[in-house]
């Protein structure tokens, strides 16, 4: 017996387009984690991130019949979430609530000192991220934390590949400078 977890995204999308809410729920369960992590890094706090991801999924349900499968469902969702978050970021200064973010998982075999250093390093990078422009931050997160290609990022943020490379370059310059003491 095949369960929803065995089905590829396109099959679940087609089923959802035909009104199968269980297929859409399977898509939500499959993609919520990475989209939530994206939103938290873009927005800097968990409550706005949760709300943005919820709204993005509901918007996706409403627009599902317009999804023709030219791009992957994951890319489509990345675009919806990124756009929502960028709109929010532009509307207000980001609120830093780093303590809300997840506990640092101790790397296996790491000493308490190494774990503490990793935590400090992550915190420093997270703070540095907030110094980037929203557009640079989106490109950097999609590339470095989500491993997307330049082409995919360009499609998600609605910019050319050259513009993405430029934003990434400037983001790396800023972050490398802030992280220089960790050399």
């Amino acid at each position: 017996m095949i369960g929803a977890a065995d089905l590829d995204d396109l099959t679940l999308v087609v089923r959802a387009q035909e009104g199968d809410t269980r297929a859409f729920e399977a898509l939500v369960r499959r993609h919520q984690r990475r989209l939530y992590r994206l939103a938290v890094r873009l927005l800097g706090n968990t409550s706005d991130a949760e709300e943005s991801v919820q709204e993005a999924f509901v918007a996706a349900w409403r627009q599902l019949n317009g999804f023709r499968g030219e791009a992957a469902f994951s890319s489509w969702m990345y675009r919806i979430v990124t756009n929502r978050c960028l709109t929010l970021v532009r509307a207000r200064r980001p609120v830093l609530a780093l303590d809300e973010l997840g506990e640092q998982a101790d790397p296996e075999g790491a000493s308490p000192e190494q774990a503490a250093e990793a935590h400090d390093r992550a915190t420093a990078l997270d703070r540095a991220l907030q110094q980037l422009s929203a557009e640079q931050r989106a490109c950097w997160i999609l590339r470095e934390l989500h491993g997307l290609s330049y082409d995919d990022i360009a499609a998600i943020v609605g910019a050319s590949v050259d513009a993405v490379r430029g934003r990434l370059y400037r983001a790396r310059c800023t972050l490398a400078e802030v992280m220089a003491p960790w050399r």
Binding site: I2, D8, E18, F24, W61, L145, R170, A176
Partner: protein, 199 residues
């Protein structure tokens, strides 16, 4: 970026040695540094920056950050309030009116075919090809099913599609009481079976 002798441009930067900083960065990130990159102080500086950031990225990725369990419930709660209006198919009956929601009927038929591990149903649509029966008559309905499936690579498609057709007819008759006039089956894609190493 701690790159000495950089000739800054808006979107990229040429190092004093002539290399493009972003390209050197990508080579460092993918472990493809060349001899020049390792010997050149400018390229080495870029690679050092990449290494420091990569360590911080690893630390950031190690942070446990899970969406709240309520997220799915909230999304699906909103989705269920926005369901499209029900679209019914008449069921043949001698005693009053009976109808079934078209989406629910499709779910039942999909479920039947999902028993076959070699196939996965993508689309399943039911079309009424005769005028709607009036509620107080016994006019038989004629329903045409259009189903699209993906098949595991190597499946005997002739036999599999015949079996799909039979399962649809049986499920419609036994589970829904809905006579089916025709079943069109489209095989729209193939999928690999990781256990068999097919692609």
């Amino acid at each position: 970026m701690a790159v000495n002798g950089i000739h800054s441009q808006p979107d990229t930067a040429a190092l004093a040695c002539g290399q493009d900083a972003a390209t050197v960065w990508d080579r460092a990130a993918t472990g493809r540094l060349g001899t020049h990159d390792r010997d050149c102080p400018h390229c080495r500086a870029v690679a050092d920056d990449q290494r420091v950031l990569a360590m911080a990225i690893d630390a950031l990725n190690d942070q446990a950050m899970e969406p709240p369990p309520s997220l799915v419930d909230h999304v699906m709660g909103a989705v269920l309030t926005e369901l499209r209006p029900a679209d019914y198919l008449p069921l043949p009956t001698r005693h009053g009116r009976a109808r079934i929601d078209r989406i629910a009927a499709a779910v039942v038929l999909r479920h039947a075919v999902d028993q076959m591990t070699a196939l996965r149903v993508r689309s399943c649509r039911l079309h009424l090809i005769e005028p709607l029966a009036s509620p107080d008559t016994h006019t038989p309905t004629a329903v045409w099913v259009h189903i699209s499936v993906t098949a595991r690579f190597g499946t005997d498609l002739f036999s599999a599609t015949a079996r799909v057709r039979q399962m649809i007819l049986t499920a419609a008759e036994d589970l829904l009481g809905l006579p089916i006039t025709a079943v069109d089956v489209d095989v729209v894609d193939l999928f690999a079976d990781p256990a068999r190493g097919t692609h």
